[in-house]
Symmetry: C2
């Protein structure tokens, strides 16, 4: 079902800043599609990039944080995650978030790749990392908006819980990081990575 | 790192509708955290639920659509996906989107579960489905904003491409649907589902 012609980008005709503050910008664009159709407003939400960390401790436990998410009004288990600060490198942001939220650090880090959390609306990317062999370096120092419980779960118990439904990560964005771990594990020569296949 | 006390929800003190139209609502809340800290504004974006469909044809090909995404200014391969209309059941929305975007339908449908695309900002859920044995029922009838190429790729070639990086789904939300397929495949008694393990 391809006519052989490459898919052309949309043409940006005009852009209005509908709302903006330090947290996000709501941009309302006027765009022209290749076929000539004009859409207005086409909303785009500009937010900073995010990082996700699948962190495995020296004893083979995955480090999870439990927290309340106001947008969905639900308390949930998550892998450590957060926003990248301006000009911050993704891996440094991931290491910072892991340390702030859990007190864990060190270990061997593997970049898992970058994905768009919501390509129809958000401009940003989420950069995922796998950290194997992290150790407790100190006390967590979460931000004031973060009220966290930390849970350490043996990897195989975590995978069994995901499979049975007894344990769930409710965020698509976070589940994608597990998919990336699995894809890396399937092709890695490193036994410590290979055993993380789901 | 749990003090034994359950994590309490945030208290909503006030809510301002910063922007709203038929596409989305930007809600700016004032919230009080359990520790007493007040955050304002805490932005929440209200959008309708989404559906994702991992569709496998009778001949064992996964059906992908290639399209341009203005928010990230990139043409990408995706599984068929879309918004749920008001009062529409998720599976009906998924069947509608698959038919509209690709002309495919029928087959055996398996709900994969619902996740939050971005629990820190979006109120919505994405409902994923696996459809096995879909057949071509007619011509695609995409919306005017959709300029799509359809690609049919043998499942094993698709998985090999994901693993090697030769083929990518660039959206986290969509990769999460593949994770859900894998989790279901690992525990299913149905050979047609089991062979979709990644």
């Amino acid at each position: 079902m391809s006519d052989g012609k490459p898919i052309e980008p949309w043409e940006l005709l005009a852009s209005t800043c509908t709302y903006s503050d330090r947290w996000l910008t709501l941009r309302s664009d006027k765009v022209r599609l290749p076929g000539g159709v004009t859409l207005s407003p086409y909303h785009v939400i500009e937010v900073s990039d995010w990082v996700n960390v699948v962190a495995i401790s020296e004893s083979g436990h995955i480090i999870l944080v439990e927290q309340y998410r106001h947008a969905v009004r639900r308390t949930m288990y998550e892998i450590p995650a957060g926003h990248i600060d301006p000009q911050e490198e993704p891996e440094l942001a991931a290491r910072r978030e892991l340390l702030e939220e859990t007190g864990y650090g060190g270990g061997t880090w593997h970049p898992l790749g970058s994905l768009h959390p919501a390509a129809s609306r958000f401009t940003n990317q989420v950069h995922s990392f796998l950290a194997i062999g992290v150790t407790r370096l100190g006390q967590p120092a979460p931000e004031e908006s973060e009220n966290l419980h930390i849970h350490e779960i043996p990897w195989l118990e975590f995978v069994a819980g995901l499979r049975s439904g007894a344990l769930r990560l409710y965020e698509a964005n976070q589940m994608s990081s597990l998919m990336l771990v699995h894809l890396l594990a399937q092709k890695s020569d490193d036994p410590a990575v290979r055993r993380l296949s789901l």
